[in-house]
Symmetry: C2
Subunit: 578 residues, 2 copies
């Protein structure tokens, strides 16, 4: 295997200027036995008011891994304690407040960093095809990670001051997570949408990646050198890219020297059953299921059947080291943890480390130590004294937890999609009764109200609404009907809030097409309520298709609904975090 | 009182481009009773593996507030629990995992934000002279806060691409916290040192603030429009600015339209006794003590004698709203908390909120909820059921805790300074004995080895070493002696690591002067060891002054000691965080 390619020509001038830390040259001084450190600006740990941090934490088996089991979630929890001081000398196993609440390393808290590094290199991506494999750095969640990626790879551009030839560009799916766009766009970066299909980004064809790059109009600025993409459970479309498509995308990025930023918050939420259920309703598909193979069968196994079954990351085909992957604990532990990690070739992680030193420094030691303790348990030499339920999840438990979450979300997806699948049509049954009550003519008028692709991963379903079939379409444009529909749903007996497609339109062009799309999340409600609220939503559809007018649904310009539709330009309303 | 001045002309083009969030327009939809939220990309809280977060936490009285008491620190601790779900409807009092571990507001977790906002507005700065008073936003510590300040107020500059007239400048003390410089400098910002005296930054006189601004050479770029300053317990010099000096500095910043960024990690560590003890040893000072008055006597009291006694912030004279203040929990709770807050006029905090939404989003909910619970305890309606020791510190306890820390650090400062004060001189006693043993001439050779200013605040002492008095000075430059001295200290029987002055030289000019300075921290060692290790350090001084040569102390260029001296260009070695 060859070493990763030097891609430092992509670095911004600011990031190139950052000095490497000389701290490592000094470790040997710190290590002089008994040396008195007058130099450190560190408070003594006796001044930290916390004597312990503790938690009750789920067992990894809390959620089932299969729907066939009727067993309820396991409410049992284990006890986790981060003590003031651990006696363990091994810094990669030492989890205590004396270290976790002190100034630390930008790469991350050593125990957590070592666990996640092993998870990433050995289990998540066992087959990265460059010498030495990737490095990681902990982040304060993927929004923080992406912000650092943008800082690393882009120079900001100001039309009042800079030449158009200096303007940089970023490619992304035409519908995408708007917070990422909002990170990039104010820097003057040209945000360029790429056409999508049910899987996600299109490599070829009109508006696809190759088309955009090949026919780049340099009068708009530099050819884009970054691709921001969500390849699993895409936000908002729910699409998941096949490995074949990823290879095509990677080859094009190689050809045009594009860095791939792969944002994967929904990675472990891949749903084998979506294909099967979709074909059950809709007949055979022209494409095979993504989930019928062991993806690591030709290479090194991840060590877990679950991980081997997941569509591999772009990292697994990254011969050159041009993939930067963002992972987060937001969906696997909690969004409020503000904790995640970035994976890339060492030369890239080194620069991100420099950026981290002068911004976030490190994720909070509170969350790093509490997560590390749950994942790792006490160090080996303290195992004897620890209770059995406090041994930590270990790698097996962590992967088991991820699989349990996958199954839980998969159940939600099935419940919502089944009901939507069966309610796509507005069926008007009018009975023309004759004098003779024995003779009735049933007139059935079947109109399709919406369609969707069964999501192979993630938390979302992307609904395409057929406003053209609405009886009022002759009087109103489909844009007007779309706005009215959104308000209608907030006023029905069971009010519903759905995500307007315009919120996810990365470019003015995609935003124009967006009015017919709505994003539905099957994550936020109680699991037991998914079916019921989805039924209610479909009732909202039916009552909208029955409307004879739009009275009370158009508050006019400047109204809330107008504002809702302008959401393409705002952040953080629905689905904060990625 | 007038409203703060519009200072948006200071904003960078990137920050000006950030869109305001429209989320508030939608609160009323979220508030529709029983509305089903299909729109949010939020995992259900039942998937968070944490069922509780808990901690043992010090009582606010753990440390004495006066040295006259012989009482040992109180080891007692209270029990703090963040439950999965609180029944309280008041979001500013509701502290639970369902809210804390979910996506949240960029301003901060509502309970913590409201507590800190009240602390800041009513107690820390009760007399901010603009209408409406300041706003706050929680940060991931002050390094994060400063990084956002730099992002907000500066356009980066690249000599290969931009005109020199576009280059922006930042003023700072000539010796300062290097991480701040390292944040700014790679952006191409002109970092401009201002002369200092024992208090800190000089307003007038040669090299002072007015001199630098008035005689600005525009061939270097734009006149600096930012001042980065540490006014209490300055890092590294330990200086604390009088309110009179602050008024002078503020007036100059007004005149030249400069934003003041006041970084105050050591705010509560102000030491009234330093003045008294210094004059006891050195005789009366030409300047009065900073700590003989109630600073809020003419205005609104902070409500606490301790806070009223502290030299007021620049915010207290900020009629125009040009002060941005950074506070951190790093020294009052723990550096690893990565938690702090920024205080400024609302127009500035609003822009920082936009930056936060696309970078850190919010500090981790783990630390925000655990700190909030310690500070606030359970909500009022749950007080009855709570044990007495779990009622939280409340505002009184928090201020009491700060005062206890102040007293602890003040004791350390006294111990170290007393020993250094009494060991400044190298005393060589040679006895010339005559035949007549009754007659001895005692020849006393008294050479001053170093001097310092007693620190009126903070964690540091700034030692000026008089290498010119060293016997080897005739053979070696004082730069060479300085390097040799640093290595010497790592090789004496009790090895010591001290902070080389060059690490804090903000500009090449100050770095040149820096070799004679060393920073000593009285924070990192055990409290009981301060005296002993300081004695050992003075032994190191004496043995260096006795050296007949520098054998074994000069490893030549490229060595560790060379690298140590180059530390002015590195970050994060000693005294990470601020």
């Amino acid at each position: 295997m060859a070493a990763p390619v030097d891609l430092s020509h992509h670095f911004s001038s600011v990031s190139r200027n950052r000095n490497a830390s000389a701290v490592k040259e000094f470790y040997k001084y710190f290590a002089i036995p008994g040396i008195v450190n007058f130099a450190a600006g560190q408070p003594h740990p006796s001044y930290f008011p916390y004597d312990t941090l503790e938690a009750n934490v789920a067992l990894p088996q809390r959620f089932n891994v299969s729907n066939t089991s009727d067993a309820a979630p396991t409410p049992a929890s284990a006890r986790v304690t981060v003590p003031k001081e651990s006696r363990t000398a091994d810094l990669q196993r030492r989890i205590d407040l004396t270290t976790a609440l002190q100034y630390g390393l930008a790469e991350g808290y050593p125990p957590l960093h070592s666990f996640i590094r092993q998870f990433t290199r050995d289990h998540l991506h066992p087959n990265v095809p460059y010498a030495g494999g990737p490095e990681i750095i902990m982040t304060c969640g993927s929004t923080d990670g992406f912000s650092k990626v943008i800082e690393l790879f882009t120079n900001s551009w100001n039309p009042d001051r800079d030449w158009i030839q200096q303007r940089e560009g970023m490619l992304c799916e035409e519908f995408t997570y708007m917070n990422a766009i909002q990170t990039a766009r104010p820097r003057g970066i040209n945000v360029v949408g790429v056409a999508m299909d049910g899987q996600g980004i299109r490599a070829t064809g009109k508006g696809g990646l190759e088309d955009v790059l090949k026919n780049w109009d340099f009068r708009r600025g530099r050819q884009p050198h970054l691709l921001y993409t969500i390849a699993v459970g895409q936000n908002p479309t729910g699409g998941t890219l096949s490995v074949e498509r990823k290879k095509e995308v990677y080859a094009i990025c190689q050809k045009y020297d594009v860095i791939i930023v792969e944002d994967e918050p929904y990675w472990n939420l891949q749903f084998p059953s979506a294909y099967e259920m979709s074909t059950r309703y809709r007949g055979p598909s022209s494409e095979p299921s993504l989930y019928t193979q062991n993806y690591n069968a030709q290479g090194k196994s991840s060590g877990y059947a679950f991980l081997d079954s997941l569509v591999p990351s772009y990292l697994s085909m990254d011969t050159e080291g041009r993939v930067v992957r963002l992972d987060t604990f937001s969906k696997t532990i909690a969004p409020g943890s503000r904790l995640g990690w970035m994976t890339a070739q060492p030369g890239i992680i080194e620069r991100v480390t420099r950026i981290t030193e002068v911004s976030t420094q490190q994720p909070s030691g509170f969350v790093q130590s509490l997560v590390a303790k749950v994942l790792m348990g006490p160090p080996q030499d303290e195992h004897v004294s620890a209770k059995k339920d406090a041994l930590g999840w270990q790698m097996d438990g962590w992967v088991r937890w991820l699989e349990g979450l996958r199954n839980s979300y998969e159940g939600r997806m099935q419940a919502m999609c089944t009901i939507l699948e069966e309610s796509k049509y507005f069926v008007k049954e009018s009975t023309a009764a004759s004098d003779d009550s024995a003779h009735e003519w049933e007139v059935v008028d079947r109109t399709q109200m919406f369609d969707f692709v069964w999501p192979m991963g993630g938390m979302f379903l992307w609904l395409e609404v057929y406003f053209d079939t609405h009886p009022l379409r002759s009087r109103y444009s489909s844009e007007v009907l779309s706005k009215a529909f959104w308000v209608h749903l907030t006023k029905v007996p069971q009010p519903c809030l759905v995500g307007p497609g315009k919120m996810f339109g990365a470019t003015p062009h995609s935003a124009e097409q967006a009015h017919k799309y709505f994003r539905l999340a099957f994550a936020p409600m109680d699991a037991s309520e998914v079916s019921d609220v989805t039924h209610r939503l479909t009732e909202g559809f039916r009552s909208f298709w029955q409307r004879k007018n739009l009275d009370g649904l158009d508050d006019g310009p400047g109204s809330d609904v107008e504002a809702a539709m302008r959401l393409g330009s705002t952040v953080n309303l629905f689905g904060m975090g990625c």
